[in-house]
């Protein structure tokens, strides 16, 4: 809206936006549609509606154990990120030390390293120290990958808080922990929870690094990878759709938390409502 109340009109950018949204969602819609298609091959035309593929994957023990493994790893990673990440975000935003910029750079650096190199480096170290690969090594690697994303959001949230509130708390004699728990945390917990849910999602879907550091077990992305390498079995559509479904549900909760906290005025609304600060 402009000052006089009229909307800025921009047919060109509106067209690009609509095209982009269609481009982003059409391929996913195709996969979901095929997951209900009654037929032995993934080709048009559709042969009719079935839930058979979902029944098939649910009865597969491999699929179920892959889902369980992914859920376990992602939960552990999200909780560890919540603790380590919140502490680090607090340190980065509240410290006056000269070391602060170095710490910030170190913690954000993994964002710029392609997963291929992180995966190979960790594999080299694990095999060199004879640490056997397992879901634990996967969680260890995921924490490195997920932490910077969590920090992007939590650091931005902590920076937007009114510093006067914490200062008053300190002046009244509260120690750092008390001020954090009673003044800071009540203002930003929805954002932190929302970011931890995103950490869960990033870990749940991670493949590039996981491929190198996983042992004999499987996670859902690894399960999808191996079915992609085999022949075209239509159940892959049902597997993929289930993953998309989990993603959209968890993401919706995370997004609602952010928007709610923006509306309640805890965090400024515009324009970084999603917490991504460049």
């Amino acid at each position: 809206m402009r000052a006089d109340g009229t909307r800025v009109r921009s047919p060109v950018t509106t067209t690009i936006l609509v095209t982009s949204i269609v481009f982003l969602f059409a391929p996913l819609a195709v996969v979901v549609l095929f997951s209900f298609n009654d037929g032995g091959s993934v080709t048009l035309p559709f042969r009719g509606f079935t839930l058979g593929w979902y029944r098939e994957i649910l009865s597969s023990t491999e699929f179920r154990s892959a889902v369980t493994n992914s859920a376990i790893v992602a939960t552990v990673v999200a909780l560890a990120t919540l603790v380590l990440g919140t502490l680090a975000a607090y340190g980065i935003t509240r410290a006056r030390s000269r070391l602060r910029p170095f710490v910030a750079v170190l913690l954000f650096l993994p964002l710029t390293l392609p997963g291929l190199f992180l995966g190979l480096s960790l594999l080299v170290v694990f095999s060199g120290t004879e640490i056997s690969l397992s879901l634990t090594t996967v969680a260890v690697a995921h924490l490195v990958y997920v932490l910077p994303y969590y920090l992007l959001i939590s650091v931005a949230a902590l920076q937007r808080l009114d510093p006067a509130l914490e200062e008053v708390g300190a002046d009244l004699g509260g120690n750092a922990w008390l001020v954090f728990r009673r003044v800071t945390l009540p203002q930003i917990w929805p954002i932190l929870l929302s970011a931890a849910l995103l950490a869960f999602l990033l870990s749940f879907d991670e493949f590039i690094i996981t491929f190198f550091v996983i042992g004999p077990q499987s996670t859902l992305p690894l399960f999808i990878f191996s079915s992609l390498r085999r022949t075209v079995d239509p159940s892959i559509n049902a597997i993929s759709s289930s993953l998309l479904f989990v993603t959209i549900v968890v993401f919706a909760v995370s997004f609602a938390l952010t928007v709610r906290s923006a509306r309640s005025g805890r965090i400024s609304v515009e324009p970084d409502v999603v917490g991504v600060d460049a």
Binding site: T14, L118, V125, L147, A164, V168, D171, L198, I248
Partner: protein, 316 residues
């Protein structure tokens, strides 16, 4: 005792919002601030142990002798020599660069108008569109690769539709297993990131700035050229570099969608490590690739700085 103190705190802080600046310069607070960095220690230790040290070890491996799924002394630069002299590596490096360049350029070119829309045109639909774009960012990476294979394959959605309409007699083979397919899937994967980064960067671009331009009679193309793009140059370059690096080093998308001419250096590094078992070669190729990324980053930054100096000179 502590809780009592907490109640007092909570009470005091609610009134403090109205009376900003009430906090004096207490010495205790300053001391607390100095120690705040201690809170980051666990994360720092984690990153050192599982990021810095492993990368260092990996870099060191590039200088060791190949011992088939292992490394051995003596130190040598053999791996670098064979990485640089291999004609296959040169082709693949070129493929990687071209995939990264195209993906980065397309995502930024599309991301800018979308970010502009979100910032200035969106109105009430902003939150809904942000939800759509961000949720698509978290849609599974492998599922997207699979989706494009379904769509572009010889019996895929595009070919069967074209066939049905009667536009083609034979399936279009170039759609899948090509660099085109790889770039398409990577644009699909990275576009949401770029939109969000550019949208966040548009914050300082006030509506007043655009309106002032319009009031002075500037058309939309002039506004883009003289107001929006100069401000967005730096964030656009960072977004480009981010996408370039991550797509040039991707090893999964080319494996499934690339065919022969879409194969990249990332795939080669992965197979040198896992299938061939030549760890020093894989490490050396990785280090060279990282150095190339660093060079690109420094080059583009220097260019930005030069442009800024140039602008200043024109103004004075």
């Amino acid at each position: 005792m502590a809780d009592d103190q907490g109640e007092r705190l909570a009470l005091a802080t609610t009134t403090a919002a109205a009376e900003r600046g009430i906090g004096g310069r207490a010495g205790g607070r300053e001391r607390g601030r100095g120690l705040a960095l201690v809170a980051a220690v666990p994360a720092v230790l984690w990153m050192v142990a599982f990021f810095v040290v492993p990368l260092g070890v990996f870099a060191f491996y590039s200088l060791l002798t190949n011992a088939f799924y292992d490394v051995a002394f003596p130190l040598t630069t053999d791996a670098y020599v064979s990485a640089v002299t291999s004609p296959l590596n040169r082709t693949l490096a070129w493929n990687s660069a071209s995939v990264g360049l195209t993906t980065g350029a397309i995502t930024v070119a599309v991301g800018l108008p979308v970010a502009y829309w979100l910032r200035f045109v969106a109105g009430r639909s902003r939150v809904a569109v942000l939800f759509l774009i961000t949720s698509s960012m978290f849609a599974s990476y492998l599922v997207r690769i699979y989706a494009w294979r379904t769509i572009l394959g010889s019996r895929g959605v595009v070919n069967s539709v074209l066939d049905r309409v009667g536009l083609i007699d034979e399936p279009l083979g170039f759609l899948l297993y090509s660099r085109f397919a790889v770039v398409l899937a990577l644009v699909h994967i990275f576009l949401p990131y770029v939109v969000l980064v550019l949208y966040a960067a548009m914050a300082p671009l006030g509506r007043g700035l655009l309106e002032a331009g319009e009031d002075l009679g500037a058309g939309s193309s002039l506004l883009w050229r003289r107001v929006i793009l100069p401000i967005m140059a730096a964030p656009a370059v960072s977004a480009f570099v981010f996408v370039f690096i991550l797509s040039a080093a991707d090893y999964v998308t080319p494996q499934f969608l690339g065919g022969r001419d879409g194969l990249t250096l990332g795939v080669q590094i992965q197979s040198n490590f896992i299938t061939v078992g030549n760890w020093p070669l894989a490490a050396a190729t990785s280090i060279l690739m990282l150095l190339a990324f660093l060079l690109l980053f420094l080059l583009l930054n220097a260019l930005l700085r030069f442009r800024r100096l140039h602008d200043l000179r024109i103004q004075t």
